[in-house]
């Protein structure tokens, strides 16, 4: 009690210094701890976007759940998409705790999604027209997600770091599930290989965009800088993209697939992958809700939200959202 009382007597500045000292010492910040407003805001932005992306990410894969070719594949993809929903739920709970002192709840998250204020990952705005896409999503999109999420396993915010531990463990299974689909197609008939190559061609640019822009002109890198100072994340967008290349480009090549970028190669001198930068204006268009499938996916979510309003009211007539 005495410690709490003395902490309350500190000035805002002293509290801030104390907070920075804690995260610099590698301590975890917990929901009821003092935290600066912009730390809370950064976390809400990051975690609600991550959570809602998991949920919107179920929609392109859902298209392939009933159509998965065999009983085994049906079971595997059902398990995978269920995991993604579970991740979404886990993350929204973390975000909701952060939002509570601001008098906000899940209804706000959903309404912000519908109004376009809350964005979701670019990859989930894309079409997934064939079974090859289901394979590429599980293998490479989940592979990219593992890379970008692993760098936050040591996040200064305790609940997020703990949620990510579980999420990353499951994502590894997803990537293996994806790799298994990919292998079957790659070793299959010419038609199956074509299915795969077409899907890779469709997804390549979206995969590069997944990590976000590299240069300051193209992005809200102030968020990146702040999140790094607050030890929410440990690496820049470009560092993550380079990791992705190192891990996956050789694997893609070894399957005999062609990357739709003739310039991509590893530059020994720089120790970096050189590649064709995607069009970042297009990226902005996509994440602001003007991607190839953005409207349809949001519409699907809105339709079901409206159709089920009576259920939510029946469960809890007093509250608006659950």
């Amino acid at each position: 009690m005495t410690i709490e009382t003395s902490f309350d007597q500190l000035t805002e500045e002293e509290k801030y210094e104390h907070f920075l000292a804690r995260i610099d010492a590698g301590e975890k910040i917990e929901p009821n701890d003092w935290m600066p407003d912009d730390y809370r805001q950064s976390l809400i932005r990051l975690i609600s976007m991550h959570g809602i992306s998991e949920i919107m990410g179920a929609l392109p894969e859902k298209e392939w759940v009933p159509k998965a070719p065999t009983l085994h594949r049906k079971l595997a993809i059902m398990a995978k998409v269920q995991d993604e929903m579970g991740h979404g739920q886990l993350l929204l709970r973390v975000a909701e705790d952060l939002m509570e002192p601001l008098d906000m709840n899940r209804e706000d998250i959903m309404q912000n999604l519908f109004s376009g204020k809350l964005k979701f990952h670019n990859v989930f705005h894309m079409k997934a027209p064939t079974w090859g896409d289901a394979g590429i999503i599980a293998w490479l999109v989940d592979g990219a997600a593992i890379i970008s999420q692993s760098m936050m396993l040591n996040s200064s915010y305790g609940p997020y770091a703990r949620a990510l531990k579980r999420i990353c463990a499951e994502e590894v299974f997803h990537a293996q599930h994806g790799e298994s689909i990919i292998m079957a197609l790659a070793e299959g008939t010419p038609e199956q290989r074509e299915l795969l190559q077409d899907a890779l061609n469709r997804w390549w640019t979206a995969l590069l965009m997944f990590f976000g822009p590299k240069s300051k002109e193209n992005a809200s890198t102030s968020h990146v800088d702040k999140n790094m100072r607050y030890k929410i994340r440990e690496k820049t967008n470009e560092e993550l993209r380079q990791e992705f290349f190192t891990k996956y480009v050789p694997r893609i090549w070894s399957l005999g697939l062609t990357i739709p970028d003739e310039t991509i190669h590893f530059d020994e001198e720089q120790g970096l992958w050189v590649y064709q930068d995607p069009d970042w204006n297009e990226f902005k268009e996509i994440v602001t809700g003007n991607g190839p499938q953005s409207k349809e996916r949001l519409e699907l979510r809105k339709t079901s939200y409206e159709n089920n309003r009576w259920v939510r009211e029946a469960l809890n007539p007093a509250a608006k959202a659950i």
Binding site: I55, P66, A68, P69, L71, L75, M85, L300, N308
Partner: protein, 261 residues
């Protein structure tokens, strides 16, 4: 062992019921009333698809053919599932403008799960050992499905006026087809005689008794006579909904069933 028609028919009944209802459930993915339900419902559907796969593999062992082909390539009239379980979740498709009815989902799954429980209780004693082994495994997961659907059913049946109205309509709709779910088809007697499963009458009575108690408990009117208005699926009678379902389920596989996927 020699082909036993009654056993084979029973296995198709069990397999197709779970397969089709799991499919209808999987169409709800991402569209459930809230995110927690999406997680729970998709887990149940995954279990049910797993149960179907077990039965298809038992059929494969009996020489009926490859489990994937049995589930994906038979023509609709070869399917033995009850008509209630194949019916669409509502207007629209799972990809466009799904006007899905949650009351129908709850009632259909609740009614079916109760029946499935009595089925498993009986099948655990089945004279066909591979089937009794399977029933033991299925029962463990089914317990959670039952708890889930019973909670939903009782909650919505006793909640707001709108919920009651929608649920009552769904009860009526399911009641009109439930006779088909409780049917074991033309070979029912032989199935019972050979000790594969209890008699149709026994299981029907158990289900009705359970429902009477449930309706009494929640103070709702008991609907009366069960119906089977759209045909008996156990005899291969089905609706256009099944044809469409099978086209979706086999869209990828049928492009080339001979290769590995």
């Amino acid at each position: 062992m020699a082909q036993d028609k009654a056993l084979v028919e029973l296995l198709y009944t069990l397999a197709d019921d779970d397969f089709i209802l799991a499919y209808r459930g999987s169409e709800w993915l991402g569209l459930a009333p809230h995110i927690e339900e999406d997680v729970a419902y998709s887990s149940i559907n995954q279990d049910m698809m797993g149960h179907a796969a077990k039965y298809y593999h038992l059929l494969e062992e009996l020489g009926e053919g490859d489990a994937d082909e049995l589930s994906h390539l038979r023509s609709p009239e070869k399917f033995r599932n009850a008509v209630l379980l194949e019916e669409k979740n509502g207007e629209g498709t799972y990809l466009e403008q799904p006007q899905y009815d949650w009351a129908f989902a709850v009632v259909r799954n609740y009614f079916y799960s109760i029946h499935k429980k009595f089925r498993m209780d009986s099948l655990r004693q089945s004279s066909y050992e591979p089937l009794s082994d399977t029933a033991k495994k299925v029962s463990i997961e089914l317990q959670y499905h039952l708890m889930h659907w019973e909670t939903w059913f009782k909650q919505l049946m006793t909640s707001t006026d709108e919920a009651k109205r929608r649920m009552t309509a769904a009860v009526e709709r399911c009641w009109n087809e439930m006779g088909g779910v409780l049917s074991l088809g033309p070979m029912a007697e032989e199935m019972a005689e050979k000790g594969y499963i209890a008699s149709e009458e026994t299981m029907r009575t158990k289900w009705l008794d359970h429902m009477k108690k449930t309706f009494e408990q929640i103070g709702a009117d008991f609907p009366g006579e069960l119906g089977m208005t759209k045909g008996n699926g156990r005899q291969g009678e089905h609706t256009e909904d099944l044809t469409q379902a099978l086209e979706t389920l086999s869209e990828v596989y049928e492009t080339n069933p001979k290769v590995a996927w």
